[in-house]
């Protein structure tokens, strides 16, 4: 599972995301001057020797490169940035707090100048001191390595343009000014960007020592700033994480962690990882329990099973630019032809929650939409009225279950309402690249989105703003282009604080796109499982919307 299952689509497109994000000041509920979180940095007194986990394969173990949950969930306790998320359960876990920074930044009135001060006496796990210039080095390292996250930072002065650091990769990024003696970091932006603080909390901005080679260091662990460090990592085999001997509770806003050591075995087969946890060989199963074993897990091991729904939306994109779905009645018919509960039950074993919203629940901008109902007869009628009946529809989806089964369902339902679907199932590695190419002319397709950071810009601007449609690597795969809504999204991006009124306006964007213009078919917020051995004390279970299962707070019976 990837942290963002559509990560391949980001490369290049994220540059546009950042470049076009004009929100000034700090977003996220106006935490501009918040001094940080309330998570206790001290040990909870529940430390224990070893946590054994069955884990999925991380893509990298290098903060400037990794982009999967498998890496993120482990490494968020290893490398840290200036800011990070509160280690608390529920929606409060989306709150930003200072990590390496002493406090939240001072931001200029126009939102283009951010000033941070590092905490005093910060050290890496090898004992060397953390310097302010390491932050700039880490950002520059990301560009040198062609990190998948560089697009996020394109609004920093000196990054974009023909002579920008992103192109030349020479000298320094002029918009990052550091002073090691004073421990200050100043970030200057080309234009205000509302989600910049969330971007600075991304793994790509995590701090590594100056001089760290600008090549993949996954198997040569980079010194850590967090409470843990990577002792060893063998791709496709496993990893060992141990306590950082020089941590000294230097980041009081994050927990120092309970396990002394984490031994991870990489097992990508969910049945095998499930069996290992059933037999107590491992304490935690990272993979979602397969549908086939879910009834057993629920009936026999319910006390060890936790089900969570993080910020994601599964939806069918329908191409608004070409027939038949450039016709609004045809789009409405397609929405009515889909029975979310049938997909959730049949394809996902019940692990999902039906939705008609594009934005997932939990966001302050979320207002539940209940605008249409599954009705095949009416859908057929609408197809007839639209004059598109009998047309061929090229349906695209990945060739692996459950996405494959979900795509087959879509094709089947389109056939039932009068179209002639033609199914194209592609390997995941090329899937999003293919449907993001206008030449493919995909008419209906499976897709999903997992948040990069908790802000509606990450959803509506990236995925449904008609001004962002591109020929290649198009994130707006349904070519959704409603001029009035585009205008509203562009206006909302410039608003500095997320007040209730602003949240209502984002909610209206959601409703307009889904219910008024029927642009897309959202059907599910997917749920997943955390499964534990009998050794684990479930009273310590903490799940956060950003950090997932917080293994640092786990404890044993």
């Amino acid at each position: 599972m990837t942290k963002r299952s559509r990560l391949t689509r980001f490369v290049g497109v994220l540059a546009l995301l950042a470049a076009l994000a004009f929100l000034a000041g700090c977003g996220g509920g106006g935490n501009k001057s918040s001094s940080g979180g309330s998570s206790s940095g001290s040990s909870s007194g529940k430390t224990y020797p070893v946590l054994r986990v069955a884990w999925d394969a991380p893509d990298y173990m290098d903060p400037q490169l990794y982009y999967t949950v498998a890496a993120y969930q482990i490494a968020n306790y290893v490398w840290t940035g200036l800011l990070g998320y509160k280690h608390v359960p529920g929606p409060a876990g989306a709150t930003l707090v200072p990590y390496l920074a002493e406090k939240m930044p001072t931001i200029s009135a126009d939102g283009t100048d951010l000033k941070f001060v590092l905490r005093p006496n910060l050290h890496y796990s090898n004992g060397t001191a953390v310097k302010a210039s390491d932050f700039r080095y880490s950002n520059e390292r990301a560009f040198k390595m062609d990190s998948p996250g560089v697009g996020f930072f394109s609004s920093i002065q000196g990054v974009s343009g023909p002579n920008g650091y992103a192109t030349t990769k020479k000298g320094h990024i002029s918009g990052i000014i550091t002073n090691d003696a004073n421990r200050t970091i100043e970030i200057k932006l080309d234009h205000p960007e509302g989600d910049i603080l969330y971007i600075l909390a991304l793994e790509f901005a995590h701090v590594v020592p100056s001089g760290t080679p600008a090549t993949d260091q996954s198997t040569h662990p980079i010194p850590a700033t967090g409470p843990y460090m990577i002792q060893s990592y063998t791709p496709n085999r496993g990893f060992v994480v141990v306590r950082n001997p020089h941590y000294n509770n230097q980041i009081p806003t994050m927990p120092s962690g309970n396990p002394d050591k984490v031994i991870g075995t990489i097992i990508t087969d969910p049945v095998a990882s499930y069996q290992r946890v059933v037999s107590n060989k491992d304490d935690y199963d990272y993979n979602t329990v397969p549908n086939d074993r879910l009834p057993e897990a629920q009936s026999k091991f319910n006390d060890r099973l936790r089900i969570y729904t993080n910020a994601n939306t599964y939806y069918y994109a329908i191409n608004n630019a070409i027939p038949p779905f450039n016709n609004m009645k045809a789009r409405e018919a397609a929405q009515m032809a889909i029975d979310p509960q049938a997909i959730i039950s049949g394809v996902y074993g019940g692990l999902g929650r039906a939705t008609q919203n594009f934005l997932p629940p939990g966001y302050p901008q979320y207002r539940k939409i209940d605008a249409w109902h599954f009705d095949l007869a009416k859908a057929k009628q609408l197809v007839q009225q639209s004059g598109t009946a009998g047309q061929t529809v090229d349906v695209y989806g990945p060739n692996e279950d459950p996405s494959k089964a979900s795509t087959e369902y879509l094709a089947g339902q389109l056939a039932k309402i009068g179209y002639k679907p033609k199914l194209h199932l592609l390997a995941h590695a090329v899937y999003f690249q293919t449907i993001g190419n206008q030449k493919t002319k995909a008419q209906a397709m499976f897709t999903d989105w997992y948040q990069d950071y908790p802000h509606p810009i990450d959803w509506f601007d990236t995925l449904l703003n008609g001004d962002r449609i591109t020929q290649l690597h198009n994130n707006n795969v349904g070519n959704v282009n409603v001029p009035s809504v585009n205008k509203e999204i562009n206006a909302l991006k410039k608003i500095t604080t997320l007040t209730p009124e602003v949240n209502d306006r984002w909610a209206k964007v959601d409703k307009d796109l889904m219910a008024t213009y029927h642009t897309t078919i959202p059907y599910m917020n997917r749920s997943q499982t955390d499964f534990f051995s009998t050794n684990v004390d479930m009273n310590c279970y903490v799940f956060s919307v950003v950090l997932y299962w917080d293994w640092g707070l786990s404890c044993m019976k």
């Binding site: 397969p290 549908n291 086939d292 074993r293 879910l294 009834p295 057993e296 897990a297 629920q298 089900i307 029975d339 509960q341 049938a342 997909i343 959730i344 039950s345 049949g346 394809v347 996902y348 074993g349 019940g350 692990l351 999902g352 929650r353 039906a354 599954f374 060739n399 279950d401 494959k404 089964a405 087959e408 369902y409 094709a411 089947g412 339902q413 056939a415 039932k416 033609k422 199914l423 194209h424 199932l425 592609l426 749920s527």
Partner: protein, 359 residues
């Protein structure tokens, strides 16, 4: 092992059959003699009957779908119910969150046999599709691929073997190297590579347009990769036959090369061709199942026995029939073809040792 009728003991039943020919054989055609031997091989005939039954059942798929099951092979019924003994039953069990409590679902209904009026006789799959209907349509596809690819493969293998064996020299060298080239690849890997590449974009070269998802793709891929496995042994036979006197006699009477090849040599390898044909159908059905299981053969939503096993793999604990039933069909079909093929070989030439090479 050549069996002498005067030897004391043999384990070769075909040799025994040949040795115990009923009645005079003088004046009887080889085909008549073969039929006489075959009709006494009840095991082979029994399995032929089994294969014909499977074939006929599969050919009846549209009738079964329209008049018994009342659903198509690709029609999903997720979220729907059906009547069993007067009660409504979910095709696929409901799951999800009710009042915050999670309930696991997604288990398709099991085999109903005749309790649901002909619906879901072998149960449903995870899309709510009728397994029995898909089994018959899947059988049609599997058999179409098996037989179709066998015909194409045999055609090219025979032509190449005749050219190679009769002309010899540079022609033989070129064709033999072509066989070697294909033979150098593990057959299944080569088939997977070709099947995967073609199933994405189809084939659009040399004026031939085959769309992705077409049944022609697995047919052509399988026939191509198996050509040397038939062509090589046939070439060997041609090489041997061309030295015989009757070929010399035909040549000396002025028969053209084509006439010698197709009027003299071809009839003399007809029995081998027939045996190969039966055995290679079985082999092709297995290859198709393997390719489809791996996603490189018959493409969804179309069914084949291989794709059905792949679909059932993830449900082996809760819905084992999804994988087991098509698996049984493959076993029965392949077994029937192999046993009948062996019987046919024994009947056509009890002393022959024509066998498919083990790959």
């Amino acid at each position: 092992m050549a069996t002498d009728s005067t030897s004391d003991f043999t384990l070769d039943p075909a040799a025994l059959l040949a040795a115990e020919e009923e009645g005079p054989i003088e004046g009887k055609s080889p085909w008549y003699l073969a039929w006489r031997r075959l009709r006494r091989n009840y095991v082979a005939l029994g399995f032929l009957l089994l294969f014909v039954t499977i074939l006929v059942l599969c050919l009846c798929a549209p009738l079964y779908a329209n008049h018994v099951a009342h659903t198509g092979p690709n029609t999903g019924h997720l979220g729907e119910t059906f009547t069993r003994d007067g009660k409504q039953v979910q095709v696929v069990s409901k799951g999800g969150f009710v009042n915050g409590q999670f309930h696991a679902g997604g288990i398709p209904v099991g085999p109903q046999l005749w309790h649901a009026g002909g619906r879901y006789v072998f149960g449903a799959d995870n899309q709510g599709r009728d397994v029995a209907v898909r089994l018959l349509y899947g059988g049609l596809n599997s058999l179409a691929v098996g037989i179709g690819s066998a015909i194409i493969c045999m055609f090219f293998a025979i032509v190449l073997a005749l050219l190679s064996g009769y002309f010899g020299g540079a022609t033989d060298w070129t064709i033999s190297r072509f066989f070697d080239l294909i033979w150098a690849f593990p057959v299944l890997l080569l088939a997977i590579a070709l099947g995967t590449a073609l199933s994405i974009n189809g084939f659009h070269h040399f004026g031939i347009n085959i769309q992705s998802g077409s049944l022609w793709i697995p047919i052509l891929v399988i026939s191509f990769v198996l050509i040397p496995y038939v062509g090589r042994p046939l070439r060997g036979q041609i090489l041997s036959l061309r030295e015989k006197e009757f070929i010399e006699a035909a040549t000396s009477q002025g028969a053209s090369s084509w006439r010698v090849m197709f009027s003299e040599l071809l009839p003399n390898i007809a029995s081998s061709i027939l045996v190969f044909f039966m055995l290679i159908i079985a082999s092709n059905i297995l290859t198709e199942a393997g390719l489809s299981f791996l996603g490189a053969g018959v493409q969804p939503p179309n069914a084949s026995w291989g794709t059905m096993i792949a679909d059932g793999e993830d449900r082996i604990a809760t819905a084992p029939w999804l994988a087991i039933i098509p698996g049984i069909m493959i076993v029965l079909t392949v077994l029937s073809l192999n046993v009948f093929g062996d019987g046919l070989r024994d009947a056509l030439d009890p002393r022959a040792k024509v066998r498919m090479d083990r790959r």
